[in-house]
């Protein structure tokens, strides 16, 4: 599920700042946080890859 058109804004929104916004949304936000971290756990178990290998070339 990646319907996201990921263009970079001209300002850096800040990775930590983006995650923080999920906190505003009550249950919906918690669900997003849960999925975000669950996806990370799954990836870590499946590939055991380093962060550097996964890094988006833009970041």
């Amino acid at each position: 599920m990646s319907n996201l058109v990921a263009t970079l804004a001209y300002i850096d929104p800040g990775a930590g700042s983006m995650i923080l916004q999920a906190l505003a949304g009550g249950i919906a936000g918690l669900l997003v946080m849960g999925r975000l971290y669950w996806a990370r756990v799954k990836r870590a178990l499946r590939f055991g890859r380093t962060d550097a290998a996964e890094n988006d070339p833009r970041s």
Binding site: M1, S2, N3, L4, V5, A6, T7, L8, A9, Y10, I11, D12, P13, G14, A15, G16, S17, M18, I19, L20, Q21, A22, L23, A24, G25, G26, A28, G29, L31, V32, M33, G34, R35, L36, A39, R40, D51, E54, N55, D56, R58, S59
Partner: protein
Amino acid sequence: MAGPTPQRTTLAPEPGSFRDWDGRVFAADGRVVRALTETGLADWTALSTSDLYERFTGEGTLVRTERADEQLLEELQRLDPEGNWVAALSHERLPFVSYPYEWTFSMLRDAALAQLRLTTAALGEELMLKDATPYNIQWRGAQPVFIDIGSFERAREGEPWAGYRQFCTLYLFPLMLEAYRGIPFQPWLRGSLDGISPVEFRALFGARDALRRGMLRHVFLHANLERRYADRGGKVRDELGAAGFDKRLVEASVSQMTRLVEGLRSPVSDSAWRDYRDTCTYSDAEALAKDEFVRRVVGARERSLVWDLGCNDGHYSRIASETASFTVAVDSDPTVVDMLYRSLEEEGSRSILPLVVDLSNPSPALGWRNRERRTLVERGRPDLVLCLALVHHLSISGNVPLREIVDWLESLRAEVVFEFVDRDDPMVQRLLAAKRSDAHPDYTRTELEEILHARLDVVERLEASPTRVLYHARPR
């Protein structure tokens, strides 16, 4: 003979407008125009056909803008052949440019709320603001006006609020600094055009402060996450999209931020200036004569821009604005200026802009090549300057010699109303009390008149009280 079209000054790129690739602002006296790329044009089309555009330009919160003709576009293309400009807009020009480090607490707060209202409205119409900086706000008197039409873009599914971090560093943290710590934000914003970073701001607070409204999330957690996620921007954005981040979360963030900002208040600091008008040594009749003098000088000609330096409660700014088109009211005390702003805001004033500026150290040129943010004087020369009950403060408290002060006034090439308060005046006595008895030997009426006459044409003089004299002077 010139042709039918009047010769216009050539437009030049605005030095503060280059960060966004989709548009660029150009200006010449009286004109502000914007060139757009293909993307910029599509975003403008989405904005200009939205309800919010109509609503906010109608109430004055959004700068009035029109699509300009082909002729202007060609002019911009000639001027900047390297830009991919496909359309041009022409903006309403606001009377005087100011920066957040010259605003008071209430001004920054109202600007923040205007920014949030626009962001909320944008979200409702599939639009978004790509940034959240107070440098995109200017003032029509006491009304905040959002000027950066190029900030609006079409919303993208799954995108977080891109301006959240910037909102914190340039609006929320400066406001919290004053509300929670009682420290004026202006020097910090002037020192750092990007504002206060979460990590820096976190360092100012102890664990107990986490209980204050908004602190735990926006400051403590923010600083922590920022450290942990440094350099992972693009990846986190994709992950959030995949985890189902959607517009409702942005809406919730913006509305919670609005409630937080609405609740922030500045602890009103005691200010020696505040009761200045009560302790003023003028008797009523003398005060009336002074008012009349100022009113007559201002009204004698058409004044497009008056500066009231040392404006205090804005009494003379109000007199000036009876006939002048626009008055910039300047004082170094943020508390005094904040009270003036609040009262002007209540009255719905559109012709007086109150600013916090210390004339002994006025706003410098800042930013890239020192051109992004201009000095006070570069932003529009006044045709009349009021210096009432100011010079003794500059000269005695600020240690600026009279000669220097008058030299500076002369360099403005404007008419001046200048008040001199003698050494025996109780006000001056109070300032001198802290100094050695032989301090400020230049501070005498004789000396002043010599200096004035050598530099300006003094056209009128009024003995406003036994210890105070007013001069009306013109540049040579």
